[in-house]
Symmetry: C2
Subunit: 257 residues, 2 copies
DNA sequence: CGTTAACTTGATAGCATTCAACTAGCGTGG
DNA sequence: CCACGCTAGTTGAATGCTATCAAGTTAACG
């Protein structure tokens, strides 16, 4: 059902396995037919990971980049003492370790949340693509800058908002991002994220996340549902989370509601 | 006295106003003479700002990039409710709004902490430089990725460390970064940062920052000094802050002690 | 239908905030 | 030259948000 979201409406019959990446880049720039072909023809390897497994680990020296095709992943770091901070969630089309093109050692890890399929592409291949297609290089650079903007917003979220707003803000962001790539619609999003992961993303304890979600439900901002979030009051949720999507740098028209 | 740190030891007699940028890039890659000339010859405008004034504001659409020449600045965002989160501190050589090359609207502000001199360079000029000097483009992309790595570390700092470690970690980072460009030495760094700014960078209250600093002093990790931090126990401070400089992605040899 | 992971609930403890007042340092001006 | 005034830093008391601990409940899954 949700696969419909990935169908290629604009680039002809095939689509190809790397299509989610093309689709994602097209939310940034218009790609020419040649550019789409250049991406679609990239040699890659398909890899499938079970839930909760590391794709790339801190201290690794990757030789390949990862393109998300299906599933969901997160970047995180474990601190001495055992606490974990999650930095971002990633959905199909994302290239979560683009930084490894320029930074040789990983300073954090990338892990799956659910069974996930990715394409791995050798750095040399991508570097050649970027050298010969400056517009694609710019688009990917832009992507990494948006990543950074999201990190900043999360920093503000964790540092200066209280639990209620933090959770609301995160839900607003996830809904907005997933909606933009067709993974959510009608105020309904599949969220394969446990409360523990929500806690590690917001700097809270699981217990407090649980209570805060209950409060949001009591306020009729979101609805009850297993592994799924139903937004009952989008305006209210944005208000509660002080959500202003500017930092996502989406194109006009793709911002929801 | 600290101006000595800016003198150009490697590139001949002049240096030129943009020398801090060249120096900074040289901590990333070896620049050829031609590349240094290309940067040194960039047309720019000098601008001087008093302390506590905005250089770029949220929602601006910059047409120029800023290169820090002298002083200190920070990036921040004000949240509804009046709270402020500081995302980063910037020192001479930094290009704090490089993102404006690819993201048209500012999602945060850039402000001075002390009287500060910057060079502004038109986007078109920089874009031309990057197009004709791919290695410089890569170096600057790399810089923006390190920025992002620092954001992540700060997120973990704010989200998962308690006050004592947070402050210690921040001091370790500032010392390491400033030492790398010659703005600190002998465990001594000039820190024109108020406790309020420290608080907004760590997600704490000024009162708690004050008490935490006192504790660090009582533990003999740092020394008492106005507008200056003297590190009395570098090993201990790193331990207290769980500081591991990997995320700064500095070249081997430039990491201190 | 048993087993485990995820979620929920209640009670207690604690780190950090807030409020309010006070001190120190420093530049300005009488 | 010292008073004034402002900013930055300091201190104490009270409150509160969130964590922790421990136990129970639900849901998912083979």
């Amino acid at each position: 059902m949700s696969l419909v979201a990935f169908r290629d409406d604009s680039s002809g019959p095939s689509g190809g396995p790397l299509h989610p990446l093309i689709r994602k880049l097209e939310t940034i720039i218009e790609l020419t037919a040649e550019e789409k072909t250049a991406i679609g023809d990239l040699p890659f390897a398909l890899r499938t990971y079970p839930a909760d497994s590391d794709i790339v680990r801190e201290h690794d020296r990757p030789t390949h980049c990862v393109v998300m095709l299906e599933g969901m992943a997160c970047r995180y770091k474990l601190l001495p003492g055992g606490k974990r901070q999650i930095f971002s969630f990633h959905i199909p089309g994302d290239m979560p370790d683009a930084q490894s093109l320029h930074l040789d050692v990983m300073d954090h890890s990338l892990a799956t949340l659910v069974p996930t399929q990715v394409a791995t592409i050798h750095h040399d291949v991508i570097r050649h693509l970027l050298r010969t297609n400056p517009r694609i290089a710019d688009a990917i650079w832009r992507e990494t800058l948006i990543d950074a903007a999201i990190f900043r917003e999360w920093m503000a979220n964790v540092g200066r908002r209280e639990a209620h707003a933090r959770i609301a803000h995160l839900l607003c962001e996830l809904y907005t991002k997933m909606r933009a790539v067709g993974l959510a619609r009608d105020s309904r999003l599949e969220l394969p994220i446990t409360q523990e992961e929500l806690a590690d993303a917001t700097g809270l304890s699981t217990v407090h996340v649980n209570r805060t979600l209950q409060q949001l439900r009591a306020e009729k901002l979101i609805g009850q549902a297993a592994r799924k979030v139903i937004i009952q009051d989008w305006q209210g949720l944005q208000r509660a989370g002080q959500f202003d999507p500017t930092y996502l740098h989406m194109r006009r028209g793709s911002v929801s509601d």
